[in-house]
């Protein structure tokens, strides 16, 4: 009986974990590909750099979630690129995403040599997070620092 209980508990645990989205662990070349990849038509890519430990990042997350919810991914796609350490993926990042029911695509950037790529993402980036990059129709705009819902909306309007 004990075993069955134990087993069903494990089963439930696995099952509920499966409901939350998977978080892909990426390296810089994959991020670069995501940034550079040409999208069909006028699709808007919104790439937000964040971490679970970053208070202003966490504060602005709901605006990005709302933005994604308001658009089909064929028109606009939000990518939340986490700077959490990869060692924290299972015990911190995944539970965070599950608890907040985050629907936007989350990827964890597993890199340490930051100086090697920050300028490539955008020369205006000092490296502070949060930071947001919006790309569409060959146009791009980079913003460092927390965005209010109104500021994010205004930023997106520039790409429509």
């Amino acid at each position: 009986m004990k075993y069955i209980l134990c087993f069903s508990f494990l089963f439930l645990l696995t099952f509920s974990a499966a409901l939350a989205q998977e978080v892909e662990v990426i390296k810089y070349p994959q991020l670069e590909k995501l940034i550079k990849e040409k999208e069909k038509g006028g699709k808007v890519k919104v790439i937000n750099f964040w971490a679970t430990w970053c208070a202003p990042c966490v504060k602005e997350l709901p605006h990005f979630e709302a933005l994604q919810q308001a658009h089909p991914t064929s028109e606009l796609e939000v990518y939340l690129i986490s700077f959490d350490d990869v060692e924290k993926l299972e015990n911190r990042v995944k539970p965070f995403i599950k608890k907040r029911n985050i629907k936007s695509t989350v990827k964890l950037l597993d890199e340490t040599d930051y100086n090697a790529f920050i300028d490539k993402v955008d020369p205006a980036w000092s490296g502070a997070i949060p930071a947001t990059l919006v790309i569409a129709k060959g146009k791009r705009k980079f913003v460092e620092g927390e965005l209010s819902e109104a500021e994010l909306d205004k930023l997106i309007q520039e790409f429509k």
């Binding site: 208070a55 340490t112 930051y114 100086n115 000092s126 490296g127 502070a128 997070i129 460092e144």
Partner: protein
């Protein structure tokens, strides 16, 4: 004439006002950095001019709350231990507003400095004017200054090394390398680097 003077005053006010508000451009390598008089955790004011024998300074904008700042605390202590005797002490400055980020309040700075046994001053830039003047935009953010006849010349701006997780795995130790080169009478080879860090918590405007 009077209108001209008023116009000039208004223009100056605009310039001053915009300079005092939030992150601006700040210093570039080669600029001369301003001295300051900021409150240390012991309540006393600290300025660069007090260090008569220093050849320069490792000015680090850092704080209590930021995980990156925490990961670098021991390395900042080591930098001070190695380079203070050679003429380059660490001066740590917390740029964050304590109301915006309570973990970085003056009292919490005192607590953290005690816990870690900081051997260097840990100053609070309560008005955030020095942070603005330097152009620090994240924590931790290092400004390596070299004293010459004209003042405190900025020789390096950026990160401490290239691996936040593990000091032993960092194969580029930017600050140590720059200091080694300065001590050898040379110019640092790498003068600026970037790293991921926490934003400065600016006062509410």
């Amino acid at each position: 004439m009077k209108t001209m003077r008023m116009f000039l005053m208004a223009l100056m006010a605009v310039v001053l006002f915009s300079a005092a508000n939030g992150p601006g451009e700040g210093y570039k390598v080669g600029d001369y950095a301003t001295d300051f008089s900021l409150r240390n955790i012991d309540g006393k004011k600290v300025s660069l001019a007090q260090y008569k024998d220093a050849k320069g300074f490792i000015v680090v904008f850092t704080c209590n709350h930021c995980p990156y700042a925490k990961m670098y605390e021991d390395r900042i202590i080591e930098l001070h231990k190695t380079y203070a005797d050679k003429g380059y002490p660490v001066i740590a400055i917390n740029p964050n507003d304590g109301d915006k980020q309570p973990e970085d309040s003056f009292e919490n700075m005192q607590k953290r400095a005690k816990e870690k046994g900081f051997p260097f001053p840990y100053l609070h830039d309560a008005s955030q004017e020095i942070t603005t003047a330097y152009g620090a935009s994240r924590t931790p953010h290092v400004y390596l200054l070299n004293k010459d006849k004209k003042g405190y010349k900025v020789e390096y701006i950026g990160a401490i090394d290239n691996n936040h997780k593990d000091a032993d795995k960092a194969d580029q130790k930017y600050v140590e390398d720059a200091l080694g080169q300065l001590l050898a009478g040379k110019k640092p080879k790498t003068t600026s680097t970037k790293a991921i860090g926490c934003t400065i918590k600016w006062k509410e405007a």
